[in-house]
Structure formats: C-alpha cells, structure tokens
Symmetry: C2
Subunit: 151 residues, 2 copies
DNA sequence: ATAAACTCATTGCAAATGCAATGATTTTCT
DNA sequence: AGAAAATCATTGCATTTGCAATGAGTTTAT
C-alpha cells in the first residue's frame, strides 16, 4: 500500500521535523497566554526579551541573535514603541543603528511575563530530569553545526 | 545597566527559545532549496511527507500529527492538488473526511525531495555523534510532556 | 576628497496566515 | 426515530509575513 517508488525514510524520526513540531507546541503554550492576557505577540515577546536581557541591542543585533526577520523585528519594535513599552534611539557611534531600550512600563510588564516563562522552564526541566544536560549539549552541537552553514 | 527591577533570567538558556531558533534554522536550510528548485513551500512539504509516508491520512490526521493549522493543511493540499501532486477523495467510511493520496507525479517529486532531507539528517547525526540517542530521548520526553497539556 | 560599495532600518505590496463562521456529515442523547 | 451536540473541511476577512526596494549613514578604495 505504501508507494513503491519512494525511498525508505523514517519520517517520524526526521530531526528537523521533530524539532519544529516540538518547538511550535512549546511556544504556543505561552503565546496564547501572553496574547490573551497581555496583548503581546510572539515576535514582540522575543524582542522584549532581547531588549530586557541583552546589552542595548539594535534591531540588527536581535535579528542576528534570534534569527528573526529584520522586518519582523522592526515591526514588532514599532508596535512595542506605540504601546509605550520600549523606546528607540539612534546610536551616536553609528547613526544607522537603532538601539532599543525598555521603558519603565516595559520593564514592569516584562517583569510579569518572565515568571510565566520560568514556570514553564521549570516544568520542562522537571520532565527532562537528568537528561537536561544532554539536551543542552545536543542543542549546542546542532546550533554550531547549522551556523557553520555548510549544508 | 541591566534593568534593576527585572527578575534574574538566563534567557539564552531558555529552552522553548533555544528550540524555536534551532528548529527555524534547520527548517530554513531545506525550505529555501525546496522552494527555489521545486516550488514547494514548507507546509506543502510537510503535507507531502505525511501523504507519502502516512497511511492515507485525512486533513485532520495531518493537523493532529504535525500540529499544522487545519486551514494551513487544507490550503496546502489545495495547492498540491492544483499542481497535480496529490488527489483528494472522500472517505466512504466517514464522508466528512477528505483522504489525500499521492499522484504518480507527486510520488516522483517526493522521491527527489527525500534524498535532500536524508542528506541533512545524516549531517545532523554526524554532528551529534553519540549524543543522538540522548537527544531523541529528550525530544520524546518533552513531546509527551507538552501533549499531556498540563501547563 | 570623492565615488563606489556596503550596512542598517523601514516600508510597499503581494502572498500567507489565524481565526471565526459556514455547510455538510456523523454521533450522542432522550 | 429525531433533535441536539459534535466533528470535519473549506472559505472570508483582517492581520501578519516575506522579500525586494528605498533612503540614510558608513566604510573602502582610488
């Protein structure tokens, strides 16, 4: 009944596929909550995180760091600015760069968002038990592999 | 300089974030190639995979299995049908269901796509070395954790 | 010093997406 | 049996996205 001409392929073991599905489920977990309770979308959350815990990142820094489309970052930042959660200023060292900073209300909001993420993180670590370290090693291996971009 | 009011949070170690970034990079690797060389988008590729290696899946089966939005599956299937790569038929057992099947050209095309995925998979496994097993265990743990949906 | 090449952020526009609503079928309950 | 609730696929519509183009600023090379 399977198609005779297809190569053998364990499609349930295909790693990019497994990781994509898993990551989507994990993210959606918080995404719904963030959006319904705080009106924050996923890209906005990621930008907030970078601004709050990065070192005065520019749009470009965020794009690189989290591999989020340049325009996605730009638009998320615009929305966050419109909501009064971040402010933009031009880097005096290089006037092409737009540096992002949390406003007080932005820091306040992020302060409420973080604990939810920490709870999820704790749940995941508990589920992983002593496999957590191995997972982190594997993630690092794959990340550096894919960044060396030799596909 | 960090914002005093923010809780401590290792945002580079945050697992949903790491996995999302990694998965996106891994998928984009092939996505570009599939789109530029074969005109196949990511959702279309995922549907093709399910149709080719699943057991006569319906739209709903695919939605469940790969957690791909119902409408996304439906539209991807419509596009694939328009390209002559799959065919739809109504399940006689339950006439609400639309069962998808590869056409001959669809099977041919998928037969060309698979080897590229296999190459990537092999690269990843090589990069992982003997950490591969641990990664798979971790993925399974997290997947069942998140499917039990007790967040 | 000036022009060409490069980098950065934003924006326009077509395509893709998410979500609620629809229509068709099946299951459940009385 | 018959009505109500549930399940499935599709579609309409507003929003989001991706990608190329633009404009501003900087670096490199002549």
């Amino acid at each position: 009944m399977p198609y005779e001409t297809l190569p053998d392929f364990d499609f349930n073991g295909y790693l990019p596929y497994r990781l994509t599905v898993l990551a989507a489920k994990l993210s959606d977990q918080l995404a719904k909550q963030y959006k319904s309770e705080y009106g924050i979308s996923m890209p906005e959350w990621r930008v907030l995180l970078n601004v709050g815990y990065g070192e005065h990142p520019s749009v470009r820094d965020i794009e690189r760091h989290v591999s989020l489309e340049k325009s996605k970052v730009s638009r998320a930042a615009a929305r966050l600015e419109a909501k009064g959660l971040i402010s933009k200023c031009i880097d005096p060292k290089d006037r092409r760069l737009v540096i992002l900073e949390l406003t007080e209300t932005g820091a306040e909001l992020l302060g409420k968002l973080i604990p939810l993420a920490q709870t999820l993180q704790a749940d995941l670590e508990k589920a992983l038990g002593d496999h957590e370290g191995a997972l982190r090693v594997a993630i690092d291996l794959l990340s550096t592999k894919v960044e060396s971009g030799n596909a």
